[in-house]
Amino acid sequence: MEPIIKIRDLRKTYFSKERKGIFRAKKMAIEALKGINLDIYPGEIFGLLGPNGAGKTTLIKCLTTLLLPTGGTAWVNGYQLEKDEEMIRASVGCMLMGERGLYWKLTGRENLDFFGSLYHIPPHLKRRRIDALIEILGLEDIVDRTVETYSSGQKMKLVFAKALINDAPILFLDEPTITLDVPSAHELRAIVKDLNRRGKTILYTTHQMTEAEELCHRVAIIDKGEIIALGTVEELKATINREGVIKIEGVIPSEAYEAVRLLSGVKEAALTKEKDLAKLIVVGSEPRTLLPSLIRTLFENGATIEYISPAEVTLEDVFVAKTGRTLDIDTRIK
């Protein structure tokens, strides 16, 4: 089958300035994408999983022609970047910048009408499409109010409706549930699945592993501008199934974390801290063998364990195994 999105050696470098005082600045190059190669097939929900700053949004921006790549190319719905920009944009619906992509002083309906026109949809089709979207997303009660009066979740729903306005065959959804409460996120994921059932190809970026596991047929894990793992959720999990995952919560000093990393049988470990509570994920050899030495090492280095358990392998564990970091870490270059 011919891919609907074909990406070949796509590179993107940002040039920025590192400030050195009031007047001095040093030019610096930031490689956001380092030669991405990827094929996405029609009818797939393809997940792009990675921490903040991994390059997910940059990749989507390149594919939607918002950014021009530094090198390489891509084909979207058969149209090549830099050659058929308008045709590419007509082929995709995109939810990119959260709730900021709307006119807050216009009503929801006025926003949809305006963007529908920008997508060159004839008036009679536009009216029908807007009515259908209002019904699908349950916007009836808010659609004639100005957007400034909406809650965050309502704004996100309207942004989602905007992405669906031209009924494009490809959808790019960049962290669509990020500001939604649990029921709204669940509702949105159900709509995404339904759209996929109706034949839409969806590129879905997230840094929430559960979302990727629930929705995606295939997942690419992206880190620091490179794809470090690619496959179905099961295939990715299988890459570390021969090892095991142990999850620990408690007070874990940095020395304890470093000592754990040096333990024989530990392949990778990642530590995240939230206030006083630390979470440690350890990927290593058979957990039962590893557990005693792990507990001993933690205690010897001043850790207090509140919870410890061998766990089911998740996509986040795959990320930890590949990078030694969790998905919560912000890898943006500041």
Binding site: E86, L102, L106, Y119
Partner: protein, 284 residues
């Protein structure tokens, strides 16, 4: 286009322009104070200069003014100058600064995601701005004339309208040039304010450019709003055209109509491409 509701064609392109005009109108109508301010500013600006003129010139103010400008009707002269300046100012703020404002509010990326040419969107913004400016011009001119007891219906009104409407075309070219600079440098307020004051100085809101030294006069003549402002005043108040007759001045303004939009749009396209090559249009 296959697989989507998008249908490219002249009708939907026209719809893009109309929708942009309608959206601007809706957005503006939700800031009523701003609309009111647009009507008041030129009158206050004129009043300051008119009262200063009366204070300095005394009872012979009109006579002195006639010697320098060719009309003794300095009140109408200044009201017209202030109004034309407001058109220039509105073009810079509402058109030149428009891209930057969209960037700051986060809607610029949404516009760039749509499969439509930025040329169509900019045309819509320019048409809305031109309509708004012309309507405001008439209201404030009539109001100013009423307040200062001047007859608004004098001179050759059709020719004045011709200068006014034709003058808007190169003005949007200049604004687009500024818009491109603002887009790149992101120093919107500083750049637009500077442009605004340079414009007000060069086009002569309250004086004829004949009072400038030769070099400055030449620079002023390279600036299209100078021709618009003088054309309107010459048609209505008989202050004299730069080249003696209205059609010669109009020919110069027409040349600007061709050159300035082309220059403005080429610079804008090049800047847009540069920005897309680096940080992207949404980065503010």
């Amino acid at each position: 286009m296959r697989g989507t509701l998008t249908q490219f064609g002249w009708k939907t392109s026209l719809q893009v322009i109309l929708s942009v005009i309608l959206a601007r109108l809706r957005l503006r109508s939700r800031y009523k104070g701003w609309l009111l301010l647009g009507l008041i500013i030129p009158i206050v600006m004129s009043a300051i200069i008119i009262f200063l003129g009366r204070a300095l010139g005394g009872p012979r103010a009109a006579e002195n003014f006639f010697l320098n400008t060719g009309t003794s009707n300095y009140v109408a002269y200044i009201i017209l100058g202030s109004n034309v300046f407001m058109i220039v100012s509105r073009a810079l703020w509402d058109f030149g600064f428009w891209l930057r404002r969209e960037q700051e509010t986060g809607t610029l990326e949404s516009l760039y995601l749509a499969p439509t040419s930025m040329m169509l969107i900019l045309t819509g913004v320019a048409i809305y701005n031109a309509l708004h400016s012309i309507v405001n011009f008439f209201i404030t001119f009539a109001l100013g004339c009423f307040l200062f007891r001047v007859n608004p219906l004098q001179g050759n009104i059709p020719i004045a309208l011709l200068f006014l409407s034709l003058g808007l075309v190169p003005l949007y070219g200049v604004s687009l040039l500024y818009g491109a600079m603002v887009f790149k440098l992101k120093e919107a307020h500083a750049l637009i304010r500077m442009a605004q004051w340079v414009a007000s100085f060069l086009m002569g809101i309250c004086y004829p450019i004949s009072v400038f030294p030769p070099f400055l006069r030449a620079v002023a003549l390279l600036f299209p709003p100078t021709w618009m402002s003088n054309g309107v005043r010459a048609s209505l108040l008989g202050v004299g055209f730069f080249f003696g007759t209205w059609y010669r001045d109009l020919a110069v303004l027409s040349a600007f109509c061709v050159i300035m939009p082309l220059v403005g749009y080429s610079v804008f396209l090049a800047t847009e491409r540069r920005i897309k090559r680096n940080e992207g249009v949404g980065m503010f």
